[in-house]
């Protein structure tokens, strides 16, 4: 039970960090999507259960603070996470930093395309800029959390 409460608190903390702190780090109109970035980092490190928990819980809370229809944000996040889990399990077992950057780029291109579809706007140059900046944030957070989130295989070997 304590484990579950701790997990819920972690998700709430993450959402608070996104809403309070990361909203201020807007570079060229791009706000880092910390929930998706962290969830993808967990998928890359084969921690799928935690990734889905953060992806689902985090985006559900962010949905409450979003002007879009409730569930839209979560739906897009979950589709991307499930797709990523399938692809990583099947094709990229141990990604390098470069592959990680490409994964982030791909994830954010999909996410942004879904988003443009939701807001019914034609994708513009902003999409490329957004995906590149988000991917750079992704790499930074991936490296920073390296010691915190160990690869599942590494733990099993130890």
């Amino acid at each position: 039970m304590i484990k579950i409460i701790l997990r819920i608190l972690l998700v709430i903390l993450l959402v608070l960090i996104q809403l309070v702190l990361f909203n201020k780090f807007m570079i060229l109109g791009v706000i880092p999507n910390i929930v998706l970035i962290l969830a993808v980092a967990l998928v890359i490190r084969s921690r799928n259960e935690y990734a889905l928990m953060i992806g689902l819980g985090g985006s559900l809370l962010l949905d409450l603070g979003s002007p879009l229809r409730f569930g839209a944000y979560t739906l897009v996040t979950m589709i991307i996470l499930f797709l990523l889990i399938y692809l990583i399990n099947k094709y990229i077992p141990i990604p390098s930093y470069f592959t990680t950057f490409i994964i982030y780029l791909g994830v954010f291109i999909c996410f942004d395309l879904f988003f443009f579809l939701l807001i019914k706007e034609i994708p513009s140059w902003q999409l490329i800029l957004d995906c590149l900046i988000q991917s750079l944030w992704g790499i930074v957070i991936f490296v920073l959390t390296q010691d915190l989130i160990k690869n599942k295989e590494e733990i099993e070997v130890n």
Binding site: Q18, L19, K24, I31, G65, P67, R69, G71, L75, Q126
Partner: protein, 260 residues
């Protein structure tokens, strides 16, 4: 199955929420959410903004000095114009009274509100304020800052409201170009602020003021929006299109005023 119990519960919440959202049944939940995060956001506004603005100012010091000089010159020019305008306004008011007009702008009531939330993505330009239904807010009311229009009220909850900023892709406001008297629609979006559907026969001049036209009835007329920065319509188009610059750094505001 037991392992996925919580996942299933969340998915059920998601599906139920998705379908009941249009009915407004989620409004109390949204209101509670905004109320919960508001102390953190306000605290964040002060602490993080302080640090970021310090570094921002440090990098822009050279530019600020030049800008300051330009502003001093502009200020002196404006002061001289102001004295002329004050006379004109006095004369205008006397004439209006004589004619029995009521100056509509004087009837505007401004309600101060603190920003307690911002959109989580750069594509959506929305903010959340700490005033709602209990303070008399209604959808489509104008939201201003420093005398400039910054957005309109979108969704009203009991103690909070969502504001669509004029820079949002969803924003569409009837406006008037003050000198040329051309009317058009102010549109937000990723490309910045633009005024579209201005008739071709209107001679638009650069730097002329853009104000709300009051058409539609929701937003009072005469609220400043910004200045025309460029005419971007192409040959062969049946309407003119201009880009608009607002002097307000909308996304970094801490307080706004709702016109009620």
């Amino acid at each position: 199955m037991k392992k996925y119990r919580y996942l299933i519960i969340i998915i059920i919440i998601l599906i139920v929420g998705f379908f009941i959202f249009p009915s407004g049944a989620l409004s109390p939940a949204k209101n509670i959410f905004y109320k919960t995060i508001s102390p953190f956001t306000v605290a964040g506004n002060y602490s993080v903004n302080g640090v970021t603005s310090f570094f921002k100012n440090l990098f822009q010091l050279g530019g600020i000095a030049k800008q300051n000089q330009a502003l001093i010159t502009e200020n002196l020019e404006l002061q001289s114009k102001l004295s002329v305008l004050a006379e004109a306004q006095h004369e205008n008011e006397v004439l209006k009274k004589e004619l029995g007009f009521v100056a509509s702008q004087n009837n505007l009531k401004l309600l101060p509100a603190t920003i307690i939330g911002r959109s989580t993505t750069g594509y959506l330009r929305t903010i959340v304020i700490d005033k709602g239904e209990k303070d008399g807010l209604k959808p489509n009311q104008a939201v201003v800052s420093q005398g400039y229009l910054v957005g309109t009220v979108k969704n009203v909850y009991f103690t909070s409201s969502e504001i669509t900023l004029i820079t949002d892709y969803n924003s569409l406001i009837p406006v008037l170009l003050q000198s040329s008297r051309g009317t058009g629609l102010l549109r937000g979006g990723l490309g910045g602020l633009t005024v579209e559907e201005i008739p071709l026969n209107i001679p638009i001049s650069k730097d002329e003021q853009v104000i709300t036209s009051g058409l539609g009835g929701d937003i009072p007329s005469g609220i400043l929006i910004g200045k025309v920065s460029d005419v971007i319509s192409k040959e062969g188009e049946i309407f003119q299109k201009v880009t608009v610059n607002s002097p307000i750094q909308i996304y970094y505001l801490k307080f706004v005023f709702v016109v009620i």
